[in-house]
């Protein structure tokens, strides 16, 4: 019997991780991406390897996903991670009050935390706000966004997955019964179009998931929610620094190479393909960042940018759950041959892929277990070292 063929639309975190998972389970995989790897949201993630602490109080499902996946990623892809931990710091009474439910919730979610005295925190991170009242050490980390996706893509490629980058899906192909059987695509390097058929199409376009399925007249409840981030030209800390309070704007600072990045904000948009960086948000990031690390107020800005989160479900902005969902359009719209994976966070990319691949396997009657938890990823450089697909 020939291998089942899966088309994955999108080579961001979910697309590359799902390609890796399905390739390990014996699928022929073709990933279609209109840019290069991480053309959309994934590349611009601020790079926080969540311990789950940020969500422990209000969104325990996401918090548990984060600590589980954080632990797995440290093992399978250490090459792209600064595993140095993080601090949650309290600066006022409200923070201290939040700290009580923080301790309790982290315990419930199995997130290891350690309370340390302000002097101790300042010894570890001399640049944090010296007026801090207390601090918690937590297993946060940071990662290089592009290289995280490249490592999954490299390993998928080694296992036979094909990556058609600079190739855009023009529309989904439906058969007489209205089920999805493939995609119509155009190679942007040559201008040539083609049809590609598969046993299953995985829509892994994140914030763009709604646009893709709209072409066949259905909807997925994804709410594109951009946020602004600012990078500064000095590495003030070695660990991530979070405000000990409910998630808000500009309450995370994280180190990356010789920089720190402050994030983020949360707003809604109409058009997805170009979202301008709002100057007021940049000012807010500087102001809020400086509450955690006072030197940020006068530090040189190196980059201002934004990324559009694919949030799912109802609610507004910060209150929307950060968990993910794989939608089987057969169940939702009686449209077979298509699943959509969206929502989630960079930290949970592997779990998102596992859930998606489980659903794909169940749909096709394939009994292959997931092995990505224990499979170390190849060097991210191997993605570009392997030959590209021929042009159409």
């Amino acid at each position: 019997m020939s291998k089942p063929h899966a088309i994955i639309i999108g080579a961001g975190f979910t697309g590359t991780a799902t390609a890796h998972d399905l390739a390990l389970r014996g699928f022929d995989v073709t990933v279609i991406e209109r840019g290069d790897i991480c053309h959309g949201t994934s590349g611009r993630t601020h790079g926080l390897l969540h311990s789950g602490g940020r969500y422990a109080v209000k969104d325990q499902e996401s918090a548990v996903e984060c600590i589980t996946e954080n632990t797995i990623l440290r093992k399978i892809v250490p090459q792209v991670i600064e595993p140095n931990g993080g601090l949650f710091i309290a600066l006022d009474e409200s923070d201290l009050h939040y700290g009580e439910s923080f301790i309790e919730s982290c315990e419930t979610c199995n997130i290891p935390i350690e309370e340390i005295k302000p002097e101790q925190a300042l010894r570890l991170e001399p640049n944090i706000n010296p007026k801090l009242l207390t601090a918690f050490l937590i297993p946060d980390g940071t990662f290089d966004p592009l290289r995280l996706a490249l490592a999954f893509a490299a390993t998928a490629r080694k296992n036979g997955a094909k990556f058609r980058t600079y190739t855009e899906v023009k529309k989904l192909i439906a058969n007489g019964k209205g089920n999805i059987t493939g995609v119509n695509l155009i190679d942007l390097r040559s201008g040539k179009s083609a049809e590609l058929y598969a046993d299953i199409v995985v829509n892994a376009t994140g914030a763009w998931a709604g646009e893709i399925v709209e072409t066949v007249g259905v909807k997925v409840p994804v709410k594109p929610t951009p946020g602004v981030m600012v990078a500064f030209e000095q590495r003030f800390v070695q660990r991530t620094v979070n405000r000990l309070n409910k998630p808000g704007d500009g309450d995370i600072v994280l180190p990356q190479r010789r920089m720190v990045v402050v994030g983020t904000t949360s707003f809604e948009i109409d058009s997805l393909d170009y979202v301008p960086v709002i100057e007021e948000h940049v000012k807010l990031m500087i102001e809020r960042g400086a509450q955690l690390i006072p030197a940020i107020a006068s530090a040189k800005v190196r980059g201002k940018y934004m990324a559009t989160r694919p949030l799912i479900g109802g609610g507004e902005g910060r209150s929307v759950a950060r968990t993910f969902k794989c939608y089987d359009h057969k169940e939702m719209h009686n449209l077979d041959g298509l699943v959509t994976i969206t929502g989630g966070k960079a930290t949970t990319l592997r779990a998102m892929a596992e859930t998606t691949a489980d659903i794909v396997c169940a749909k096709l009657g394939i009994d292959e277990p997931c092995t990505t938890r224990e499979t170390p990823l190849l060097s991210y450089r191997q993605y570009y070292m392997q030959p590209n697909e021929d042009l159409l």
Partner: protein, 243 residues
């Protein structure tokens, strides 16, 4: 208050399969305080969806968006339009030199990445080896276990700017030699044979263009000079080693 907008012409290198490379002009209104990559991205979003270019992080940590901007290698995500052109002028954007062009502004990183892999350039390294300027004394003991992503973001600007790289496709190039230096011959003695070769260290003729364009403070030129010292020292040592 937002500053006055500029009207500029983006002159973009285009190259599709079977086409002769040429430039295409895109007139657009820009904020001088946005980045060159923002303008390129708007061309893609609103003017020509077939434009191919690499980008990912938009804050200089991934190295994907290196291009030649008005004949100079730039990481376009952190290059302010204000710094490279003026109101009413053109802004020429081309792919990096000394790399195969995939399409338009996108280049193929395959050979470069495989050379980085050959010299085992480390993606993450311990803080004490990261050459951070003026680390506070307090860090040292507590942070001995701390590692960080290395400075080199493998953007390829140095390879594009290097006059020696233009003369030989086999030349390892500045980033690769800098990666070998950061790794160190002591830590990895096999590197000696790789870098001490015609297309290794000795092809560099100290133009220092790499250091000028490096957006990430790696200073490849200094590292190449240091690696030469390491190589000479190692060869000298091996002369006196018993067979």
């Amino acid at each position: 208050m937002s500053p006055a907008k500029w009207n500029i012409t983006l002159k973009i290198h285009r190259q599709k399969q079977g086409e002769t490379p040429h430039f295409e002009d895109f007139a657009m209104e820009v904020d001088p305080d946005e980045y060159v990559l923002d303008a390129v991205e708007r061309v893609w979003a609103f003017m020509d969806r077939t434009l191919c270019y690499r980008h990912a992080c938009h804050h200089s940590t991934c190295g994907a968006c290196g291009m030649r901007v008005n004949n100079v290698e730039k990481l376009t995500c952190i290059t302010l339009i204000r710094d490279v052109t003026r109101d009413g002028a053109t802004l020429k954007v081309e792919p990096l030199r000394n790399f195969p062009v995939v399409s338009d502004l996108a280049v193929d990183m395959g050979t470069f990445y495989s050379r980085m892999e050959t010299v085992d350039a480390r993606a993450v390294l311990p803080i004490p080896e990261a050459e951070v300027e003026h680390p506070p004394a307090e860090w040292e003991a507590a942070d001995a276990q701390i590692i960080r992503l290395s400075d080199c973001i493998e953007c390829g600007l140095c390879i594009s700017a290097c006059p020696a790289a233009a003369t030989s496709t086999e030349y390892l190039g500045p980033a690769v030699l800098a990666g070998a230096q950061a790794n160190g011959l002591k830590r990895n003695p096999e590197l000696l044979e790789i870098v001490d070769s015609e297309d290794g260290l000795w092809r560099c003729h100290s133009a220092f263009e790499c250091t000028v364009v490096c957006p990430s403070f790696v200073d490849p030129a200094r590292r190449i000079m240091d690696l030469r010292r390491q190589v000479v020292g190692e060869r000298f040592k091996r002369l006196f080693r018993k067979p």
